[in-house]
Symmetry: C2
Subunit: 455 residues, 2 copies
């Protein structure tokens, strides 16, 4: 029987079918549809549904799959659903979850519920959780699982093959068995595929890869992701830094999540949004979550207005200046944002360090200046043609040159400085930059105009 | 001998050491340092170096590793280096490359060089390339490799184990053997780990997973990445759509690249940059690459200025209006960009379809209106306090309410409309949105001011 080829439209179609079935009140039908779906598909459908549909769907889901589904959800939605669950249901869901995800969920619970959930767990689960909670968020420890399969260096491959046959199924994404000594120190690894192709009489020591490097448990998860990307790993062992003791392993599926989250963080951050923002979240909650950024922007806009305010005299006498004054900040903002996006990505990829940041700043300054020359000439020509005033063209051109040079410099320096002071450049960079280019742009144009036109 | 724990500072330190060694002209030392490094680390160091350092490093690299290193580089840098290489060297580099990367490199060559490179290849390599070139870019076919290991359903596991031992090493990231019939149609898969744990006398048919779904060769690579993420796959088979014939397989390392590129595309695109922009590229080339976006922005800024121009009378009489007129577009731009980022991410993740886009637009419109109410009151109060003019506060508050409501609507509709017309929302969305919020913001504020103050 030939198997079916994947249909790319499947998920959207399913979503449509579910929505229609819910709309016509066919709850039994919906329940049986949900029963046949994988946890990851249910999670995707929950993510893509408006709040009311979500509530109904969540009621209709089999209780025993709750844990798996929660595993796959984005943070904001996960938090929302968990806070509505009873402690007993959370504890029950916890049974089916990976240790790293369990730790995440427990961290987000209020203290009282946290303790209740812990009480309702079996002793074994409680031990797993306590261990997982001991590693800080966003480190290798927090995305690690403890399901490693270890072997000793002096046994033969044949013994291992027999052991595995008795042991039965291996954990998902197991591509390497780890070789450890008596004190659990990592000595190397044996690839599963090598077990199949090598001589069964060889010893582990003979075929093991002793270049295998352990990831220190405290390493930042973004750095771990870079290592996975660079070395095309499927899984990697995690060790205690001082003793090299094997603590667990990280698998590529968790790394994919880290990469996705970090990349979304940069993109959403530059627009002033959290990367875990729920696309289909409720209105009032969403409104409040976006307020902080708008508050900051109001101050930035008032600051820019107060710069214009300094030149009230000039604006009173020349309405044309007022008409043209938004052009210079706008061009500076766009040019600065280009540099900013490039530098933020470079920082996120770990490309920018001590040895090359000075060169990069110099390069962006040069680009800013060249851009400034180019666009000051163009805007000079445009304004001269439009307003028939060559002096006005010269003024706006001069202001443009100043502002775009500053934009290049600021776009490169601001994220590097923010990083030095441990402020997230993706989040704060855009707002700081736009404020700088607005203020400098207005100051340059209105200042030059006051200097040359008012005398 | 215990193996070393990975040091997170390693790469930056190495880069520093290399830069210093190059600075003092110790080329022999640099060459031997490069000799000991993995291709992926050399690629990373090339990416992180200014052009001059790159040139020197590139000369010092072992010729036989060129292909592997090119594999790992970003597109812009890859193109730059390839155009400087002789066709013979490109052909030689091609020998060490994966088929999918080879196809990419050949696509980017000028026709004359392309033919020269093809001539200098062995017949076998030429066949591989021609096959790879037959699949369009950004499809499953273009990121697929042909190194699948296939078995027949009626043999026993024991036979397979013996076959693998004779065959020797398996391709990287092989976690599944594919089961095919006589006509190479995909029937299912046998996991490598199951080979180790199951009864050797069982037949393939008994232990194979026949739910395994083949990816159609023409599927968009972003959709393939979503499937990998949702199902935590390490590799997946690619099939011809009609016949279900097995053509190759996609591995997680290529998917990680797709995810990284797509996410960077959204982030860089919103700032008007290509995702393959080289952070340390040369100045003049970088300046030119950024011009298009600035040209478009100049037109947008002139459009906004021409709106102000319509209200020259008002601006002539009230300088305060000119001072305050940048606040409304600024707040609208930030609010609209928040919605835009959310919707672009939702589209990229495949969350937004027919069934929920109307709900989403309604939600963002509601958030825009609520935000508008909130901020119109705040800005009303701020302007009243600052300028001591209650009417002026009312005017700017009214304009703010209009502009922020429009911003919410535009932020949701623009990317959805652009997608409908097959324009990339990540690239064009931000510019279209800012133009809308600038024009509507100025029009609302200056229009209301003209209406109420000029009479």
């Amino acid at each position: 029987m030939p198997i079916e080829v994947l249909d790319s439209e499947t998920t959207d179609q399913r979503l449509n079918q579910l929505t229609q079935a819910l709309g016509s009140g066919m709850f039994v039908h919906v329940r049986s549809m949900l029963h046949d779906m994988a946890a990851s598909d249910i999670a995707f459908i929950l993510e893509s549904s408006p709040p009311r549909t979500r509530q109904v769907l969540w009621q209709l889901i089999d209780q025993q799959h709750t844990g798996e589904i929660l595993d796959e959800l984005g943070e904001e939605l996960k938090d929302t659903l968990i806070t509505q669950m009873s402690p007993e249901r959370v504890a029950k869901a916890a049974e089916g979850m990976d240790t790293d995800d369990l730790a995440y969920i427990l961290r987000s619970l209020p203290d009282s519920v946290f303790n209740q959930v812990l009480q309702s767990m079996t002793a074994q689960d409680r031990a797993r959780v306590e261990q997982a909670l001991s590693y800080p968020e966003d480190t290798a420890g927090s995305i690690m699982n403890t399901d490693t399969v270890t072997v000793r260096p002096d046994v033969t491959i044949d013994v291992i093959l027999r052991y595995l046959r008795i042991r039965g199924e291996l954990p998902d994404a197991t591509d390497t068995l780890y070789v450890v000594d008596k004190r659990d120190s990592l000595l190397g690894g044996v690839r599963i595929t090598d077990l199949l192709t090598c001589d069964p009489n060889a010893s582990v020591r003979e075929i093991m890869n002793d270049d295998l490097e352990g990831i220190p448990v405290g390493m930042d998860d973004g750095e771990v992701a870079q290592l996975f990307e660079r070395h095309d790993w499927v899984s990697a062992p995690v060790v205690e830094e001082e003793t090299n003791r094997l603590l667990g392993r990280i698998t590529i599926d968790d790394i994919v999540d880290v990469i996705r989250e970090d990349a979304e963080h940069s993109m959403m951050g530059m627009a002033g949004m959290d990367d875990d923002t729920d696309t289909f979240g409720p209105v009032v909650k969403s409104t409040l979550r976006r307020s902080l950024w708008l508050t900051i922007n109001l101050f930035a806009a008032l600051l820019a207005a107060s710069v214009s305010n300094m030149f009230e005299n000039t604006l009173e006498q020349f309405a044309t200046i007022a008409i043209l004054m938004t052009i210079v900040p706008s061009m500076g903002g766009v040019a600065g944002n280009q540099t900013l996006a490039l530098v933020i990505r470079g920082i996120a990829l770990g490309q920018i360090g001590q040895s090359n940041s000075r060169w990069l700043i110099g390069k962006e300054l040069a680009i800013g200046f060249l851009n400034g020359l180019l666009w000051s000439m163009l805007v000079f020509a445009a304004v001269w043609l439009w307003k028939g005033d060559i002096a006005l063209g010269g003024l706006i051109g001069g202001a443009m040159l100043i502002n775009m040079t500053v934009a290049g410099l600021a776009g490169a320096c601001i994220p590097l400085l923010l990083k030095k002071f441990n402020v997230d450049p993706a989040l704060a960079g855009g707002m700081v930059l736009t404020t700088v280019t607005d203020v400098i742009g207005l100051f340059a144009f209105l200042g030059l105009a006051t200097l040359f036109l008012l005398n």
